[in-house]
């Protein structure tokens, strides 16, 4: 039996078609970039609603939730209290950046690689672009694991030998951590390239998909609503 956590975090959600989610995120980005002062609050609430919607079937983690809460709070405060002051501009920028980050993260955490590849293929995206995106995603995930490994090793070394006390020693430590990180990353890239080649990565012709996608009524409604909202916000 798969428990609830597995459904949320252990596996990708599939309530919405990835194409609908793509349209939703793109509309949100457009609106985030285009909306003026008068619509800031509406935008903030739209972002919060999107975040809540994505959270239902993807586990964003505490950091993303906190980030979004801060963004909503900052946006609301800026809109209500500071009016045209420079702090309002800073808060507005922060809100936009948060919307972009959280929207992207919600999308990636709730969409499987296979689903995304299938959706892009259905949207007639070139095979080379789809494969490049898959490889990049694999590399980004790997990057995260390498960062974790480097951080853990630094703590293990400090636990055994003590924390470097002088700034020079700390700088040396940071430098060697970076060197190790780069060396391992290059090795990982090499092996991943080899593994990809031996799994037909460079084969010409069409790529097929395990996933058969279905663009339902809900997907259509979401896309239409997002497009209208983005158009309205951009026009204003």
């Amino acid at each position: 039996m798969e428990n609830s956590c597995e459904r949320k975090a252990g596996q990708a959600g599939n309530i919405l078609d990835p194409r609908a989610k793509l349209a939703m995120v793109l509309c949100l980005y457009t609106a985030a970039c285009a909306a003026g002062d008068a619509w800031r609050l509406a935008l903030v609430w739209a972002a919060a609603a999107t975040w809540a919607l994505c959270t239902v079937h993807s586990h964003l983690g505490r950091s993303a939730g906190t980030l979004m809460a801060i963004a909503v709070g900052a946006g609301a405060l800026a809109g209500m209290r500071f009016g045209q002051q420079w702090t309002a501009a800073v808060a507005e920028t922060a809100v936009r950046v948060c919307i972009v980050l959280v929207g992207g993260r919600a999308f990636s955490r709730s969409t499987g690689t296979g689903e995304l590849a299938a959706a892009l293929q259905r949207l007639r995206c070139p095979r080379s672009v789809v494969l490049m995106l898959l490889a990049c995603q694999g590399m980004v995930d790997g990057l995260g694991r390498e960062v974790d490994g480097a951080r853990e090793a630094a703590r293990a070394r400090a636990a055994c030998l003590g924390t470097p006390r002088s700034p020079a020693a700390a700088a040396t430590t940071a430098w060697w951590a970076m060197v190790s990180f780069c060396a391992r990353l290059l090795r990982r890239a090499d092996t991943m390239a080899a593994a990809a080649e031996l799994r037909g990565f460079s084969r010409p012709g069409n790529r097929t998909s395990l996933h058969s996608l279905r663009f339902g009524v809900l997907d259509g409604c979401v896309v239409a609503a997002c497009c209208v909202a983005a158009a309205l916000l951009s026009w204003k």
């Binding site: 597995e6 596996q11 636990a159 430590t173 060697w176 190790s180 080899a194 998909s209 395990l210």
Partner: protein
């Protein structure tokens, strides 16, 4: 030339690497349909190079100079394009992290067949078959980032099996797998090979798992094949000793070789009481919300070794990190009893994990070891003894990052021993170790324990476990495993 030969190699020589060293010399090898070949030998003998040459990765992806002739299913390898090779050969690499591309296990298994443009029903059928063979069908929608190291290994193998290759080249597939998974996967692979005329070549140090399935044994030394014949030869301890192989667990050389003397549980170095641990992000806890560790009690005394074993995903690594102080337990306490005079730096606990390369901070192996030396050990020749003990003498002037995986692990263990910690914690220390280096490792650990150190090792390696003292703790499959896994 028999057209039915899966792989035919004639007079193959290969030079690669920054120093263009000769990795393979005049290799001749034929793999016939239905054969299960066990390829073994000491670390650095050329096993991985042979697999890379046999699949065309050298010189297509990894630069190198190759001479000789290689034929795959009767066709010269040089005339095949790389994606065509993918239809004939499946290769699994040593590090499973380096061959996962997608976010879920199911997508990972489908990645190869999708690239080959197979129809959707066939992809679905192959994916199901591959995932059932590797015991991952029950957790097929789990994120690959949420898997344990052993589960990642199985996902990598599933991705290759889904391609349906007629020749399977596997580089250390059993390392870090628990015994049940290793036997199950290798057994399934052997059955497929026998039923469909496929062939399997397994490069492995843990020959105990593979011997029961192997139809032929090949031993390499210094880039050449030095033995070619019946796998039963490796059941002989003297044969293994001659070629530096790991002796099978049942042989006289494979029995317990060191025991703890004078250990008193009152002389505690580390205690854990009621330790529970849950990751705040479910993704890290192998996809489960429940605790990875539940109410663990543990006493580690000076002059003893403690072995933690359990199936893949049972939380061994998490427990080690909690003991090392790298993770804070959700509840319960870990107490490091620090009355040892040697605890002049840090917390007196040394931890060597899966990625030892990140521990290094110097440009030479010799300097790296010096940087770890305990102040009181600088007066004597501790570093020299450790390099001799762990066979690092020939790499003292090399950069730590230029070492092989096995050498890198040996250096990390030597460095941790040089620091003379009160507690030494090792996670799967024997991965990539041949018989000779396993002996070296056991010697070094025996001396550490005899000198009053407390050793904690997490491992699934039967060659290591059977020679360690009996103070063993077995974790259940609560965190990652399920009935469907295996």
């Amino acid at each position: 030339m028999k057209m039915s030969d899966r792989l035919r190699i004639e007079r193959l020589s290969c030079r690669f690497g920054p120093e263009s060293t000769e990795a393979l010399h005049d290799i001749c090898l034929t793999v016939r349909p239905g054969e299960f070949v066990l390829l073994t030998g000491r670390s650095g003998c050329g096993k991985s190079a042979l697999i890379r040459c046999g699949s065309g990765l050298i010189p297509r992806v990894f630069p190198g100079r190759v001479s000789g002739a290689i034929q795959l299913n009767g066709r010269p390898l040089a005339t095949l394009r790389t994606w065509e090779i993918a239809e004939h050969v499946g290769v699994t690499f040593q590090d499973p992290d380096h061959q996962l591309f997608t976010r879920t296990i199911e997508d990972e298994a489908a990645f190869g067949p999708e690239n080959l443009g197979l129809p959707q029903p066939e992809i679905a059928e192959r994916v199901e078959q591959a995932l059932r063979l590797t015991g991952l069908w029950g957790i097929r929608r789990r994120l690959t980032a949420a898997l344990s190291f052993g589960q990642k290994r199985r996902a990598g193998i599933a991705g290759i099996l889904a391609l349906g290759p007629r020749l399977l080249l596997m580089d250390e597939p059993a390392s870090v797998l628990d015994e049940e998974s290793a036997r199950s996967i290798l057994g399934n692979v052997a059955r497929i090979a026998a039923a469909h005329g496929g062939s399997v070549v397994v490069a492995e140090h843990r020959i105990g798992y593979v011997l029961e399935f192997a139809t032929r044994l090949i031993v390499m030394q210094g880039g050449s094949i030095v033995y070619h014949g019946n796998p039963r030869a490796a059941m002989d301890g003297r044969f293994c000793a001659r070629y530096g192989l790991r002796p099978p667990v049942g042989s006289p050389l494979g029995r317990a070789r060191f025991v703890c003397q004078g250990a008193h549980m009152t002389d505690l170095a580390l205690t854990a009481r009621g330790v529970c641990f849950s990751y705040p992000d479910c993704q890290r806890s192998y996809g489960h919300r429940g605790p990875v560790l539940a109410d663990v009690d543990l006493d580690v005394a000076a002059s003893t070794a403690t072995v933690i074993e359990g199936p893949n995903g049972s939380g061994k690594t998490t427990l080690l990190k909690v003991l090392a102080g790298l993770l804070q337990p959700t509840s319960g306490t870990v107490h490091r009893c620090g009355n040892n005079q040697r605890r002049s730096r840090g917390s007196g606990v040394a931890y060597v994990g899966h990625q030892p390369a990140y521990l290094f901070r110097c440009s030479q192996v010799e300097r790296e070891l010096d940087s770890w030396l305990a102040p009181e050990a600088r007066q004597n020749s501790t570093a020299y003894h450790l390099t001799e003990l762990l066979d690092l003498g020939h790499v003292l002037t090399r950069h730590p990052l230029a070492l092989s995986e096995g050498e890198s692990r040996r250096l990390a263990i030597a460095a941790a021993l040089a620091a003379q910690p009160q507690v030494l914690i090792l996670d799967e220390p024997s991965v990539g170790f041949d018989g000779y280096h396993l002996d070296c490792l056991l010697d070094a650990l025996e001396r550490y324990v005899a000198a009053g150190g407390a050793l904690v090792v997490a491992s699934n390696d039967p060659d290591l476990l059977c020679r360690m003292p009996a103070c063993a703790i077995r974790l259940g499959a609560a965190a990652g495993g399920s009935a469907e896994d295996s």
